[in-house]
Symmetry: D2
Subunit: 356 residues, 4 copies
């Protein structure tokens, strides 16, 4: 299979300046890399921020292709690659560590100490290296995973989101069977957190948020009850639901400081809080409660430590239908409309998929 | 050995009202309990607060004997006790769980869900149950540990402090050999944190604080260098010392919100922060850094999960001389002077021991 | 509710000598205990062995009531019990630790160092203390769990079996999502191991055994494929299925030395083997492979460390129908027939329930 | 600094056929690699076996340089190496993973699934790739560690041995402060196991073996008592020393099946056994005890998961003098005599160092 010389791509030329080009050079795979024919790339909550403000160490404007939740098929293989074959249906992991630093050698490639250093081999596809809003993308094999034949490519783009939720769970030592779990914030990561917690044996799952329809979606995906934090005092409600004991585990995905503060307040003695959201400012956490109640608060960076293939496995069993999460699809030509749908939350948009 | 009917004790009669009495009834041991002839009881940093304000669920004023860091010898045994013999030299653990709640059954007796509930069997000696500023104290055998013959009773009172530091270390998954550890705050718990970290194989130990002489003491106890946070920007200094990487682990023992905030700032990607201090207010932690750097912040409540016998073992080897930590000794009759010495930090007081 | 003075019970009078009596004194609850009106008691694989040979520290013959997988309702409460109310539907955990020894204080009550010591408070219901083949049983509240209203009592007796399987999984650090798990031996524990692994997010589950119909049952309960070890070389087959890599995790429930030996042989580098079976003799394990492949072999004793309420939670969601596991029910009067059904594996018996 | 074209090396030409050559081509560093001027290379217990029988995937006879415990200084740097400078004093780690397989990405490079596959980037220096019995060696930077200025190069060769012992400890979840640890087998790994356990806070350390002088050496290095297994029943003795409870943790370094069998027998309920030895045949372990006592048996492959820099840190503090372990030094010209000293255990040889 021979690759074309050029391709269509959505390229960032500056802050807020995304342009469709037809003649972007198709990348060539280096040793250990493969070229993916991108069939679908979902828009992540961080993408509008990258569009607006760039990202540390991003490729030069005028060359920068972003998008990191993509799936497709293998179109070409670099030197020495025996792990994949042309035509394999695959999805990708955004982070590929340098393999040299102390963290990478410990398996913690998502917090590589050479972040953004291309020469040392680090890649953050769609952030500090080109990604998936294009017809072709070039990935190192460490960031590529085969997907089952019967798993649609559109849904496969969701495994990055699922892996982010799952990594939050891992960061707090997993969920023990039967535990009461609060998922805070019913965005895509929170809703997928409900799915992951349910598939891992959680007991009661409580979903909190501000939008009734999102809480409804969460109930369909496995939550046992929703709390609208605009209508109820979420701390009092969770404590009441747990007989004054508090939640065993919390996935804080809302990304607001109030949500982080509340999470500590309704957590059990010895409970664990995973912070999965993106926060704009410091949060005044009740550190005395953290001490006196022996609480653990763990930040969760992206989708590290095998959480992506794990999430892929969980979703591939399809015991929970994640179809409600993919609400919109656009062609690559319509990428501006796709972003508008996400940014303005049009028509109840949850995950919006772009199809190059 | 027969017990006397009455004893000398320091009794709290109200907020700030501690009185020595000569005719306090000597306690009788119930099943599974033992009476300890108290030989030494160290003053904890929380004791002046108890003296001033009481404690949740404390025994009635007029009957309340506090003090929880004591050592002595077994004077009488309750029904069914075969684990100890009269005359055994022992030290005590303040917490004894109910044994019935979910946490206790998981071994987490320090966060017993029946805290302060005497009928359910919970005991927090010197807090919600009588303690050691008296000639005799009554403890459940789960809270009593034999000490080696060659370990002085004065020093044995320090194992509670040591266990508090050690539990902080445990709460962040232990210290791996060679890790760079920051101990924040050179009070008794911080200084003992230096000792514990050194005895567990830490690499570089950095002690931070505001008092030069305390930092000096820390160097004698095993720290590699001290940082005076009044003279240097502690975040910049730690980052510089670690080549921009940050500390692997932090024991925050200062108990100020600034110290907690700083701890997060100078912690490594994937690093862990144990909060061991007592905080008066919420701390505006950089939650975004906690997420992006995959940091774990763990509160550490007292001396749970076997940390007391572990600390006892470490200190009994005497490879580090902890003598500099016991700076003052007073008789029980002089307990008011002993408290004044602690509260006003007279003569460089670190640990002050009262000898009934 | 007043208890009758006497009750019907199946009492062991000697090796192999089980007799039904009508006038066994109904037990009285001590402090922290409750009397359960037993509605169903399942026969465990160890029960025929107890019938034949007794058990270390068993109650005196002539008084010994065995049976440890029972469910029913609370009929009376001992002093100080506020955790339950008369009429609560409950199931039980066989092990209740002394609460005093080092293991119990660490939460490891299933390996209590005072095993069989009634005075120290240890209980092993149906083994070293009376159990459930009777109209009433007396349990400490630490060994009693409420069951949901919609969970039939017959099925509730299976939570002990489920907890045994689940504890095996816990002993090997849990199952990570997507892992390839071999369950060796399709007895009740193995079949329930399939259920537990599936509900915790396992990837491919391979069930091995000698009986085709049992392997079929396993497929219905969540296994992906069965291997008949009489027809195939199980080591070669598992290695082939995993591309020469081996299984991530193994639950060895067959209890034969060959099965234990094979388990090590088909386990992956860094894989884990839980030994859950009862073995009659030593097994010649390939220790060199254990070293060179960095394999962990963990014995799993009964249902410790909260595995029982965890299993209860997983089963209460009823996403897998465990009805095929309860194959027979008998009244207490028919207990000899019930045992015969188990011992001779009549009519495809898996779990046989006795209903007092 | 320019490298010479040729060097002196001990080359394997066949089984048992080691020859000194003067004109071996000096290796050239590839990207990410460095050339080390070897100053000292210790003989490992596996080296005589390699000499006699080769090793799976070893370099062709006539080219194969073995030896994997070496230290020296950086003589040349490959492309892209910024982590080291010419002249840095360094020691090496034998294993370097492919960085591509599932195990490597989890940080488990010591059990790389591409073992021996040079094209995929795996290296096992001195085994499947050339090592250190030569004037120069070529190592990937992931396998090189700087050593402190005041740490002699001879002693630095011992960090591989130390790391092997330390990895055994890690494989059983570390040693908790105060635990009773049995080190079985006072060879170099066992003796270093004593050192590591002591430096990590072990309680009582019991060393077992057959040679009185080795047990004596162990006492100097930190063991509390020795048991000569030829003179005493080691199982009975350990059980007696622990009041019938058994050892918390065992490092089995003897590598005999009897030692492995015994280790299980004298281990505590919930205790852990690390198998660190090289075993020639299967060991009939008491699997029923493993189950009923909830024992974990973990194989420990080499020096993975950061154990090498950790061991380096522990030894660099020099609180235990490891000088007694380096008993002999030879020049590279005398390598045959060096091997004879090891193989025949001449003059109490423990570690023998070859100096190219």
């Amino acid at each position: 299979m021979s690759l074309p010389k050029t391709m269509k791509a959505a390229v960032l030329f500056g802050e807020g300046d995304m342009r469709l080009v037809d003649d972007y050079p198709v990348p060539q795979p280096g040793p250990g890399e493969a070229i993916i024919k991108v069939e679908a790339c979902a828009i992540c909550g961080s993408d509008p921020k990258i569009l607006a403000h760039g990202w540390p160490n991003h490729p030069p404007y005028g060359e920068f292709i972003f998008g990191h939740e993509y799936a497709g098929s293998i179109a070409a293989l670099g030197q020495g690659v025996s792990e994949f074959q042309i035509g394999d249906r695959v999805a990708v992991e955004p982070h590929k560590g340098c393999g040299l630093c102390a963290n990478c050698r410990d398996g913690l490639y998502n917090t590589c100490l050479n972040y953004g250093n291309i020469e040392k081999g680090h890649r953050h596809y769609g952030f500090s290296f080109n990604g998936g809003y294009a017809e072709y993308a070039c990935n190192h094999i460490n960031s590529i995973y085969k997907i089952p034949d019967d798993m649609p490519l559109d849904k496969s783009t969701l495994i990055t989101t699922a892996a982010t939720s799952l990594y939050g769970i891992r960061r707090i030592g997993g969920i023990q069977a039967g535990e009461t779990v609060v998922v805070s914030g019913p965005g895509a990561i929170g809703l997928m957190g409900v799915v992951m917690a349910r598939l891992l044996g959680a007991g009661t799952i409580i979903l909190t948020g501000t939008r009734a329809e999102r809480l409804e979606t969460g109930l369909k995906l496995g939550a046992d009850l929703g709390i609208n934090v605009r209508e109820e005092n979420v701390v009092e409600r969770v404590m009441a639901l747990t007989n004054g004991v508090g939640a065993d585990a919390v996935l804080e995905c809302a990304g607001t400081t109030q949500a982080a503060v509340d999470a500590v307040e309704y957590t059990k003695k010895n409970g664990r809080v995973a912070l999965v959201g993106i926060y704009k400012e410091s949060a005044p956490l009740n550190v005395n409660k953290i001490v006196q109640w022996n609480i653990t608060v763990a930040g969760s960076k992206a989708e590290g430590e095998r959480s992506l293939p794990q999430a892929l496995s969980l979703l591939s069993r399809r015991t929970i239908d994640i179809a409600p999460l993919v609400t919109h699809k656009f062609s690559l030509d319509q990428i501006h409309a796709a972003f508008e749908t996400v940014e303005q939350r049009l028509e109840g948009a949850i995950k919006v998929v772009v199809k190059p």
